[in-house]
Every structure is written in C-alpha cells, then in structure tokens.
C-alpha cells in the first residue's frame, strides 16, 4: 500500500512539474479607450492587452472594428468635419518586450507607415498615497507628464507590470488612465488570467530591423508636415494639407518655429 501511494505521488509530481513547464500564464485585460476632441465629440474603441508572464512580453490590439475603415465619414452636424479610422495590419498593435525594456508600435506620416521602437523606461511616474478599488483590485494613484499631456493613472500592485497601449512603467498593472485635459482615457472593463500550452516563442509582428526611434519619427513627421503645407498637385481651387502638431502624443513642439502652417491657418481664420 505504501509502495503504491509513493508511486502515485511520483506520477502526480512528474505530471505536475511537466504541466508547469509546458504552460504559459496569461493575464488578459479588456480596455475601453475614449478619445474626446475639443468640441466634446468622442470616440470609444475596445482593446485587449495580453501579458505573457513567462515570455516577459505583452501584446495590445484593437478588438472592435470600425464600420467605415479607411473612409472619410462626414460629421452629422458639421459639413466641414470628417472622421477617418485607419484600419490595416497591426495599425493599433503595441508589442512590449520587458526582457530588453523596449516596445514597438506603428505610426503613420501622411498615410505611410513606420515601425517605431521606444524604451519602456521613458515614463516619469510620481506615485501618490491615494487608493481606490477597480474591478476588485486595490489601485494606487500615479501621475506623469507624457509627450505633451499630464496623466493620472490607477495601477494594481497585485497584478503584473503593464498597461494599456504604450503606457507602462509602474509597479503593477494600469487599470485606468486619463489625461488631465480629458482628451484620452483607458478604462479596464474585464480582467482574466488563464494558462495555455507553451508555444515555441511569442511572435513580434513588426520588422524590428527597420524600426526607427521616436526622435527619428518626429523629425520625419515635421519634414513631411512642412512639405505637405504646400503640397498641391492639382492646381486650382486648393491649398496644401495642414497637419496637426500631434494627436495623443506631440510630434512637433508648440514653440517650434520651423513649422508655422497650422498657426498661419488659425490666424487666417481669425481675420
């Protein structure tokens, strides 16, 4: 009897250790992103973050698809306002590699796409004492300035390190983040953790050998913004195309005087 029990225990521990080595722990969080423009018109999109603990990596991607991808859609109230929702391969994708502290994302300049690599150490958080509960987790408040906007984030120290989109760098998972000007917010809606069978490696979909740095991206964007301001292939009833100095992130600083087309346009509207 003793021998049989020992044998069963041995079998169980072999299977148990085998299943541990052959499985991956994944934390899956669904977020709702809200982008609110200055006239209070807002757009809500659903995203999913998957953190692969053993691979020290995460992937973040859109789960809701646009009804009108890559089309200009006229605003209901304003004839002079259009919306454009880009859709294509990995457009909303962010790949984070915690092993080398890098993350990769896709950015467009005048509809041409570039892979941008960034460091995960760029976030200068200030962690405060305030706490609140989100989806059953005690979250702590942290603030930072990031590429032109001030943010407030709530992170759960009981969950692995990570966050929606590019946001990261706190000692836990960011479950809620809002810019102070209300332009951008991400709110966690669902959290689940599960195991899957271990695959050989986690696939980074980006061609990282062609990736450019954030500074190189900003330089290219500015160059293109200056060129497009006078871009007018069909002569006649048209001016150039004036790009904004950024969107969620600032690409051209407000005090940069190399690019003036946007401010000139505002002045001409006022006159």
């Amino acid at each position: 009897m003793k021998k049989e029990s020992l044998f069963l225990l041995l079998i169980f521990s072999v299977f148990n250790s085998h299943s541990q080595a052959d499985s991956l722990n994944i934390f899956q969080i669904e977020y709702e992103k809200t982008l609110t423009f200055e006239d209070t018109k807002s757009f809500t999109t659903s995203y999913q973050l998957q953190k692969y603990i053993e691979f020290e990596a995460s992937i973040f991607d859109k789960i809701s698809k646009s009804k009108t991808p890559n089309q200009l859609v006229n605003d209901d109230d304003d004839d002079a306002l259009f919306y454009y929702t880009p859709q294509g391969e990995n457009i909303s994708f962010v790949f984070k590699n915690y092993a080398n502290s890098k993350f990769y994302s896709k950015h467009a300049i005048a509809y041409k796409y570039f892979i941008v690599k960034d460091s995960l150490n760029i976030f200068n958080w200030n962690i405060l004492d305030k706490t609140k509960e989100i989806l059953g987790y005690i979250c702590q408040l942290a603030t930072m300035e990031y590429r032109g906007r001030n943010y407030k984030a709530w992170f759960a120290a009981d969950l692995p390190v990570g966050g929606p989109w590019k946001f990261d760098g706190l000692p836990g998972m960011i479950l809620s983040i809002n810019s102070d000007d209300s332009f951008l917010s991400f709110e966690a809606l669902k959290i689940k953790s599960f195991k899957i069978k271990k695959t050989e490696k986690l696939y980074n979909p980006f061609e990282i050998k062609n990736a450019i740095t954030w500074d190189a991206f900003k330089t290219l964007y500015k160059k293109k913004a200056i060129a497009l301001a006078t871009y007018n292939p069909q002569e006649g009833n048209s001016g150039g195309m004036i790009l904004s100095r950024g969107g969620i992130e600032t690409y051209i600083e407000d005090d940069d005087t190399d690019y003036t087309a946007d401010k000139d346009l505002e002045k001409s509207k006022d006159n």
């Binding site: 002079a80 929702t85 509207k269």
Partner: protein, 97 residues
Amino acid sequence: MKKLLFTFTLLVSFASFANNSVIEINEKLIETKINKVELDQECYATCSVTIRNTETGETQTVSGFGHSHLSCDLAGASCLANARANAKKKIAELNNM
C-alpha cells in the same frame, strides 16, 4: 412565399450596404468656416475642411477656394465643395504614393 421573403431580405441587405458605404455629404453651409471677400460684384471665398483620425487623435486640414459672380453664398458653397473634393483627392494620392 419563400422566394418573396428571400428577395425582400436581399433588398434590405443591399439597401443597408449602400447606406453604410456611401460618404454622406450634406450641402448645408457652415458660415463660420468661410471667409468671403466681395470685389467688383464678384465674391471670393476661402474655407477649410478638417479630417480627424479617430485612432491617433491627429487632425489634417485642407483648404479650398471658391468664387461666384452671383452671390457670396454660392461662392461659399463652391468653396466648401472644392475643399471636400480636394481632401478626398489628396488622401487618395497620398495613399497611392
């Protein structure tokens, strides 16, 4: 009866597809975005349309010009129509470059 139901379903599907795939352009004028100048009974207008990227929050603005010897309202309407057409042309060209 089945045939009739099938045809009706097909019609509804086509109608909803057509409704979703066409960019609606309402010809209502947005006065605040149009600057008009009247010279020798000719009216010249400048205006712009804005395109917002709902993913990145970036905006692009495309200007247009319009003129009419009949009225400034017509010059404004022509301007806005030109600006809209120019925005679409530019985006199509940039996408194909």
